[in-house]
């Protein structure tokens, strides 16, 4: 290959790199813009929600729709119990089996109980419940609200003088948070139980396993897990309601489908992001020592 040919090839490559950086920058800016708008819209919805909760619960100027919350909890959460139990059972088997060989090498096989307890209560219980619920509750809420928009039902509500935030968002959000907390407790119990069973099958003394588990988890560990669960619930509910109501009437079923997919994706990203942030905060405040 001649020198000039090599040079021109280098030039081409350099230009390619520059273009790649340029388009990457544009892409990032585009994403940042969309993220900003999304976060703004979500904050507005959250603000309206909190204002509404204040009016309902503190000022008592408007009725709290307890029956709506209850029916949403059934719709959103009860169906998810089976899946949560199934996932919990699997995790309780996976975790001890993965850890056993290494811990056994050090003669610390019984520490499976400690690791399992910490991982489940602080992390896996809330996280997996939230991910399952973003598929169950999040997707179904987004699809329902989206179809209500396309069927003019949301406009009809407004025309009747009923606010969609008060009437649609609040019961769903409250139901998601409550169900998230309950399902997390169920997931915790199932994962610990399944871990205990696996540990015992691996030859750990049942009583020792139980003892180590209760020693590893105090109220703080359980509490921080539930705090996370509550926050994940707010995120899933808020994202689902926001994206569902953001469907435009003329977008039709395509818009509903897009909102549903986006809800699951955004929820999972938001859940894991928030998890990282809160874990760092809890760690910094020494809650894990």
């Amino acid at each position: 290959m001649s020198a000039s040919a090599r040079e021109s090839q280098q030039g081409l490559r350099r230009r390619g790199v520059l273009m790649a950086i340029g388009s990457l920058g544009a892409l990032t800016l585009g994403y940042a813009g969309r993220l900003f708008r999304f976060a703004g819209g979500m904050s507005v919805l959250l603000g309206a929600m909190l204002g509404d909760l204040w009016v309902v619960l503190v000022l008592r100027r408007s009725r709290f729709r307890g029956e709506h919350v209850l029916s949403q909890m059934v719709r959103v959460g009860v169906r998810a119990i089976g899946i949560i139990v199934l996932v919990g059972l699997a995790i309780g088997v996976i975790l001890p089996l993965q850890m056993y060989p290494k811990l056994d090498e050090f003669g610390q096989a019984e520490q499976i109980a400690t690791v399992n307890a910490i991982a489940v209560f602080r992390e896996l219980g809330p996280l997996l419940t939230a991910i399952v619920l973003s598929g169950f509750a999040g997707a179904s809420i987004a699809a329902e609200l989206g179809s209500m928009v396309t069927a003019e039902e949301v406009e009809a509500l407004e025309a009747m003088g009923l606010k969609p935030v008060n009437f649609l968002v609040m019961p769903r959000l409250v139901a998601t948070v409550l169900m998230m907390l309950m399902l997390t407790v169920i997931a915790d119990v199932v994962m610990i139980g399944s871990g205990w069973f696996t540990g015992v099958r691996l030859g750990i003394d049942p009583d020792l396993y139980y003892h180590l588990t209760t020693e590893a988890v105090d109220l703080t560990g359980f509490g921080t897990g539930l705090v996370k669960a509550g926050i994940f619930g707010v995120l899933v509910g808020l994202i689902a309601c926001y994206l569902g109501l953001s469907v435009k009437p003329w977008q039709g079923s395509e818009g509903v489908g897009r909102a549903t997919t986006a809800t699951v994706v955004y929820s999972i990203v938001a859940i894991i992001g928030a998890d990282a942030v809160f874990t760092i905060i809890f760690y910094a405040y020494g809650l894990f020592s």
């Binding site: 406009e155 009809a156 025309a159 009747m160 003088g161 009923l162 606010k163």
Partner: protein, 306 residues
């Protein structure tokens, strides 16, 4: 300006049906200088329109003429860029959220699809505004729901879910819900869209009956000419976001039946073509004269702007 011309002529000649006392009656809805743009597109340009008490006003126009947008403005679902909309004596563009919420109890809307809440039964749909906005006990609400459903001929379908209803029945149920709070004004968005001729005629009958029985003012947005001429006291023709003509039904009937030669203005010819549903006339010429390629280019540019 042209709208107010037409309006005075409506007052002079309004002698049929309930249009008789038109001059002495206070307008229930009064729109002045209404402007609305979507991006670079002007959808409503300086709309002036009055709707009088106890009349049925039919707003007509082709697809995309702005009639649905006008309805959304009248019902407070959209905010205008400029202009005022007085409803029952209050300018809804100036009202606070709370005041608008109160005012909304005094008018009802029948949406194109009926807009029933799919998760509630027909009876619960009609009961919803009563439960939310009144302090009536459950027994009274149940009776009122029965009465409203009887009025629209659906009493035996109280417990059905919306998914089990036909298109016409959905509209009837939506109408029962719209009249639940005994409104003073009823808005209808394309009431005969998607219905077979017989069902459509029944809905027309219902609109007339309800307007007379409940003494409400009705605003009907439609492009079905048969239905429009059956129910209207007065009519309003919109085109490209402009009011072409407002007047009693009779004036529109004579325009429709007039020969092409007797009409002088382009506007009259245009209205005539629309009323007759003819395939040839000024509307068609307009569509053909604008260059197709030019339109495509324009659309493309608007798409990029967005």
């Amino acid at each position: 300006m042209m709208a107010s011309d037409a309006y005075t002529s409506a007052g002079d000649k309004g002698e049929q049906g309930s249009g008789r006392a038109a001059t002495s009656r206070e307008p229930m809805i009064s729109i002045r200088g209404l402007n609305k743009r979507f991006g670079s597109q002007r959808v409503l340009c300086g709309i002036d329109l009055d709707v009088l008490a106890s009349e049925i006003m039919v707003v007509m126009g082709g697809s995309g003429c702005g009639k649905s947008t006008l309805l959304r403005h009248m019902t407070g679902l959209m905010e205008p860029d400029e202009g005022s909309i007085r409803l029952l004596g209050q300018d809804i563009t100036q009202l606070s959220d709370e005041a608008l919420k109160e005012l909304r109890k005094r008018y009802g809307i029948l949406f194109q699809s009926g807009a029933l809440f799919n998760s509630l039964s027909v009876g619960e749909n009609v009961a919803l505004p009563l439960r939310e906005h009144t302090n009536l006990d459950a027994r009274t609400i149940e009776i009122m729901v029965k009465i409203k459903l009887e009025l629209v001929g659906l009493r035996e379908h109280t417990d059905k879910m919306p998914a089990q209803l036909s298109g016409g029945m959905k509209k009837r149920a939506g109408l029962a819900r719209a009249i639940a709070l005994d409104p003073q004004i009823l808005f209808y968005d394309e009431p005969s869209a998607g219905l077979d001729p017989v069902t459509s005629a029944q809905i027309d009958r219902l609109i007339i009956d309800l307007t007379r029985k409940l003494d409400v003012t009705s605003v009907v947005v439609t492009h079905e000419m048969d239905s429009a001429f059956t129910i209207a006291d007065r009519m309003c023709m919109l085109d490209k976001g402009v009011v072409l003509k407002v007047g009693p039904r009779r004036e529109f009937e004579s325009l429709r039946d007039a020969s092409v030669e007797s009409l002088k203005s382009e506007r009259e010819l245009l209205i005539r073509q629309f009323l007759r549903g003819a395939s040839e006339g000024p509307i068609t010429d307009r569509q053909q004269s604008s260059g197709y390629a030019e339109d495509l280019l324009l659309e493309d540019m608007q798409g990029q702007e967005r």
